[in-house]
């Protein structure tokens, strides 16, 4: 009987039959847009070196992804925009005078080792840009140190941690050291640094030039619903709290170094951060804790990179321990993982 088709067959797909207009590319472009003010300001402030850094980083990042897909005969994925974000963020995490070949290697490593080897977008366990940056800094730390206008943190560290005669473990420990550092040895007034840090600070990487513009971009992403406030809030909040606990100036510590770029743009990378809301908060706090400890008790001037990479590593574990509660399932029923 009525199994003949009288009306033309149409597309049949699963429900739901409508989708939101949000797309992956759209999200990535929002991130780029949010970074744009900082990037443009960096170019205005630093001139051609910044242009070169951005260009090399982005071109190599995109080129690596293109070539990888071409060689593996996979569909091209440049359109998703994630390689662009990676290239941009890598450039912003490096000092402007980084030799171009180092930037190129960093971008290659970021995309190839940081992302594609794991299966591409969505599968990497660590933040690709930071993998690239860590590779570069650990490989040629000496060279980098020579080229960079050392940022506030390097200066600070020179006075406090690396001070020649305070080297033995005991004196470095605890509040005393930073107390002393805060009270005198800095040689400059921390509060007086707020303004340059917010607006124009040419020491350090491209992403340290203006904290104000980064905050602006970050807020835009939060308002647009692209990033979760929990990560930056946890990060920056913890950072400030610990600085305060160490008797130092929280505002200064939050504004200086890579914290703003890291908290708003790098720790929030979807792929390498936890999925659950609670998890994101824990993760943000972890980043802040690690970063602050790195500054106050560690030998290196700044540890945003390692803080985020470390928490990337913990993200799956955090996810496991903070799984959302399923509607109607009472917690006690649940087997503890």
């Amino acid at each position: 009987m009525s199994e003949e088709i009288t009306a033309p067959a149409r597309t049949v797909g699963p429900s739901p039959h409508i989708t939101s207009k949000t797309t992956c590319t759209g999200i990535m472009l929002w991130v780029v847009a949010a970074l744009a003010p900082s990037a443009i300001w960096a170019i205005i402030s630093m001139g051609l070196v910044a242009v070169q850094l951005f260009a090399v980083s982005i071109v190599v990042a995109l080129g690596t992804e293109w070539a990888w897909n071409a060689i593996a005969r996979k569909p091209q994925t440049l359109r998703d925009g994630s390689a662009l974000v990676t290239g941009l963020l890598l450039a912003m995490s490096l000092p402007p005078r980084t030799p171009w070949w180092m930037v190129a290697i960093g971008a290659f490593i970021a995309i190839a080792l940081g992302k594609l080897i794991f299966g591409g977008l969505g599968h990497n366990l660590f933040n690709p840009a930071l993998v690239g940056r860590a590779f570069v800094t650990l490989s040629w730390g000496g060279v980098l140190a020579g080229v960079q206008n050392r940022g506030w943190f390097a200066t600070l560290a020179d006075f406090s941690a690396e001070g020649f005669d305070t080297i033995s473990g005991a004196t470095r420990l605890g509040i005393a050291a930073s107390d002393r550092a805060a009270s005198g040895a800095y040689g400059f007034d921390l509060a007086a640094q707020y303004q340059p840090l917010l607006l124009k600070n040419l020491e350090g990487s491209l992403g340290e030039i203006s904290a104000a513009l980064l905050i602006l971009g970050g807020l835009v992403l939060i308002i647009k619903g692209i990033i979760d406030w929990r990560i930056p809030a946890g990060y920056i909040g913890t950072m400030g709290l610990i600085s305060w606990a160490f008797g130092s100036d929280p505002v200064f510590h939050v504004l200086a170094g890579g914290v703003m770029l890291g908290a708003f743009f790098m720790a929030t990378d979807y792929v390498s951060s936890p999925m659950s809301k609670k998890g994101r908060l824990v993760y943000g706090v972890g980043c802040g804790l690690f970063n602050a400890l790195g500054r106050f008790v560690g030998p290196m001037p700044e540890s945003t990179t390692f803080a985020i990479l470390f928490m990337n590593g913990l993200a799956p574990l955090i996810d496991r321990m903070t799984r959302p509660r399923v509607f109607g399932v009472v917690k006690t029923d649940e087997e503890r993982a």
Partner: protein
């Protein structure tokens, strides 16, 4: 002087050795636990280095799992082939059961089956089968998204250029996973047949012949020519579909010859893949092209 040092050394290590071995010897007796002798045997065959490379916490656990069949005998990486062989001997027929049946596809549609709509979902047969009765007009036909391919634990199935699954009879162990997995399997699109089954009917339709002909140009039309041609009374049209009785089928191929729809195929090791392309279907002539089959068998092996 030398001697004293040697003496001290001997005393020190002997004390340690004596204490530990005595404790162990007594413990071995005191805390003895009965275990399945086969586990003991397998355990003895394993290297005992407890390296964990197989993903199990210890050789004992691996041995248990091997005996229970949860772990393949070749799982031990440290022991390598020597160990695998030894374990296989102990577990014997337990581990690798004789292959008696294989999976056979009872559909010849593929690109000859008529699509009922443009499908816009996931490439999964199970998923597509639930949407508006499935993307084929034929309610029983192979959807061709390869759930069976992905499900087969032995990598024995692949899709041919017509989008139909082909079972590699050398790899198929007859485990039946694909049969369970196929959303059309419950109504027996994939079916386990004797490993040495000589012919297979490539149709699985149970609806009316008229509607099935609308949906597919390769279907069984229940004309009963095969039934009449079979000298051994081994093929019957039941419920409007030809069904082979493998207890009686001698593999003479008479039905293959007469089927006007070419929907009965020669089957068996090596033939399956090629038979699809029509090799072996004489166009009305009485004899099967033996060379072609032999060639096909050679190529498939």
């Amino acid at each position: 002087m030398d001697l004293i040092l040697i003496l001290k050394a001997v005393v020190a290590l002997s004390v340690v050795g004596l204490v530990t071995s005595t404790i162990l010897a007594t413990a071995a007796k005191r805390f003895h636990v009965e275990v399945d002798p086969r586990i003991e045997a397998v355990l003895a065959a394993l290297p005992g280095s407890n390296c964990g490379a197989c993903g199990n916490p210890s050789c004992f656990v691996s041995a248990e799992k091997m005996v229970e069949g949860d772990l393949a005998p070749n799982a031990c990486v440290a022991g390598g082939q020597t160990t695998t062989d030894a374990v296989a001997v102990i577990l014997g027929a337990d581990a690798c059961a004789a292959v008696a049946v294989v999976s056979a596809r009872h559909c010849g549609g593929g690109d000859r089956a008529v699509r009922s709509y443009e499908y816009a979902g996931v490439h999964s047969c199970a998923a597509a089968a639930r949407l508006a009765g499935g993307p084929l007009l034929c309610p029983a036909g192979c959807i061709g998204f390869g759930d069976c391919v992905r499900a087969c634990p032995f990598d024995a199935i692949h899709l041919d250029e017509r989008g139909l699954p082909v079972v590699d009879l050398d790899k198929c162990t007859g485990c039946g996973v694909c049969v369970k997995e196929c959303p059309r399997g419950q109504i027996s699109l994939l079916q386990l047949v004797p490993e040495m089954a000589p012919v297979v009917v490539r149709c699985n339709a149970h609806d009316k012949v008229k509607s099935r002909k609308q949906g597919c140009s390769a279907c069984c039309i229940a004309c009963k020519k095969c039934e009449r041609a079979c000298p051994s009374d081994a093929i019957h049209v039941i419920d409007m579909l030809a069904v082979v009785d493998y207890d009686k089928c001698t593999g003479c191929g008479a039905c293959v010859e007469v089927c006007p729809q070419n929907c009965i195929d020669l089957f068996g090791r090596g033939v399956d893949a090629v038979a699809l392309d029509g090799v072996g279907h004489g166009s009305g002539a009485a004899s099967i092209d033996e060379d072609a089959i032999a060639e096909a068998a050679g190529a498939g092996a």
